[in-house]
Amino acid sequence: MTAALFGLDPIGESKVKKWIFSASVAGVLSLAVIALAAPQNGSNAATPPARGRGRGGAPRRGPGGPVPLLSDGHPDFSGIWNGQQTIAGNDVTSTGPGSSPTTGVPPMLPWAAKVQADRAKNQFADDFEARCLPGGPPRIPPYHISLFSTPKLVLMLFEGNTHMYRQFFVDGSDHPKNLKPTFYGDSRAHWEGDQLVVDTIGFNDISWIDGQGHPHSKQMHLVEKFRRPDFGNLQIEVDIDDPGTYQGHWHMNRVTTIETGMEMTEYVCNENNQDPGHLDHANNDGKHP
C-alpha cells in the first residue's frame, strides 16, 4: 500500500516506509521547499484528495499560519487551491422524506430519478464535461482553482475542465432580473463575519451536480459559504435547493488546501480530446465488441 503512493519502484517498500517516517519527522519543511526541489521526472507522487464519496479518508490539511486580509479587513482568499475534497463520513446530508442515508442525495422527482438512472446505466458516457463543456457549480471542478479576492469582487478561475471563471460580486448588488440561464449562473456575495456567503441563481439545466449524473433544473438555488480558517485551508459549505428536481435540501461540506510554488497550467480541453469516440461506443450499447 505504501509503495503505491510513489512513482518509484527501484527502492523497496521498507525503505520507502523509512523515508516516510523521516519525512514525517521533517514535517516542518515547507511546501515551497518541496516545489523548488521537485525532480524533473517520474518520482514526485502525491496522494490525491478524495473526490466526493467513495474515495473517502480524512481530509488532508494545508499549512497553518495567519490569514491574509484585504484592505477592508476581510479575509483574502487569493491563491491557487487544490481540488476540493468532501469530508468523508460527513460530506453530504440532505433533508426531506426519502432522503438517502447512504448517498446523502435528497429524494429526486420522478423525471430526475429516471434521468440519473439512465446516465448511470450507460456509465455516465454522455457527460458533457467529457465533451469539454463546463461542469458548472456545484460540481467539483477538476484540477486547481485560483481565487483572486478584492473588496468588491472575488474571481474564481478554473484550470479545468475549461478555462472558465466565476464572478462573486461583493458590492451589495442584487441578482439582475430576467437572467439568461448559464452554466455558472449569477453570483452575489456578502460577508457574515469571516465567511463569504455566495448566492447563485440563473443556472441552465445542462450541467450535472456531480459525476454521478444528478441533474438540476433552472430553479436551482446555490449558496456557498467560503471560510479560510488559516493560511493553508479553505472550507466550503454548499447548500442546494432545487424544487424542480429534488424534494429536499442538499448540503455538502468541502475542504481544499493552498498550493504554493506553482502556477496554473494551460488546459485547453479541446486540444486533443479523443474520448468522445470511445464514449459514443458506450452510449450505443455499453458492451464489449
Binding site: I11, I34, Q40, A46, T47, G83, L279, G286
Partner: protein, 133 residues
C-alpha cells in the same frame, strides 16, 4: 542518493496539497478495469496535450505484425504533480505499460503504470478505480 532524494520529496509532498486524478470523463464508460493489459514496445509519439497526455507504442507480435497502441495518461496538471515532465517519455524509448483496455476494442488503453527505460516505474495519473497515485 538522487533516488532517495526523490522519495523524500515524494513523502514530504504527502504533507501538502494534491490535485485529484479525476478525469474529465467517466473511466468506466471508456475503459474496462477488468481487462488489464501489459504492453512492451517502442514509443513512436508523445502528445503532451489536453485533456489527456497520450503516447503511442509500437508492439511486435510473434507473427511479426506491428500494432500501434494509444495510451491515455492523466491530465497534465495531475502528471506534473506526479513528477512527469514533457520530456519524461521520448520517441524511441523502450517501455512497458500496464493499463486498462478500451471497451470499444480499439488498440487503446488507460495507462496505470509505465516502466521507463532507466528502470523506474511511474504512475500515470490514471483515473481508474483504486489506481495508484
Amino acid at each position: 542518493m538522487k533516488k532517495y532524494a526523490g522519495v523524500l520529496i515524494a513523502a514530504l509532498s504527502l504533507l501538502g496539497g494534491a490535485v485529484p486524478a479525476m478525469a474529465h470523463h467517466s473511466f468506466a464508460a471508456e475503459y474496462d478495469a477488468n481487462k488489464p493489459v501489459t504492453i512492451t514496445g517502442t514509443v513512436t509519439k508523445v502528445e503532451w496535450m489536453n485533456p489527456h497526455a497520450r503516447f503511442y507504442v509500437d508492439v511486435k507480435t510473434p507473427d511479426g505484425k506491428v500494432t500501434n497502441w494509444n495510451f491515455e495518461l492523466g491530465a497534465i496538471p495531475v502528471l506534473l504533480k506526479q513528477g512527469w515532465r514533457k520530456t519524461s517519455l521520448k520517441e524511441g524509448d523502450q517501455v512497458t505499460v500496464e493499463g486498462s483496455r478500451a471497451k470499444d476494442g480499439s488498440f487503446s488503453a488507460n495507462a496505470r503504470r509505465v516502466s521507463l527505460p532507466d528502470g523506474r516505474k511511474v504512475f500515470a495519473g490514471s483515473s481508474a478505480p483504486n489506481a495508484d497515485q
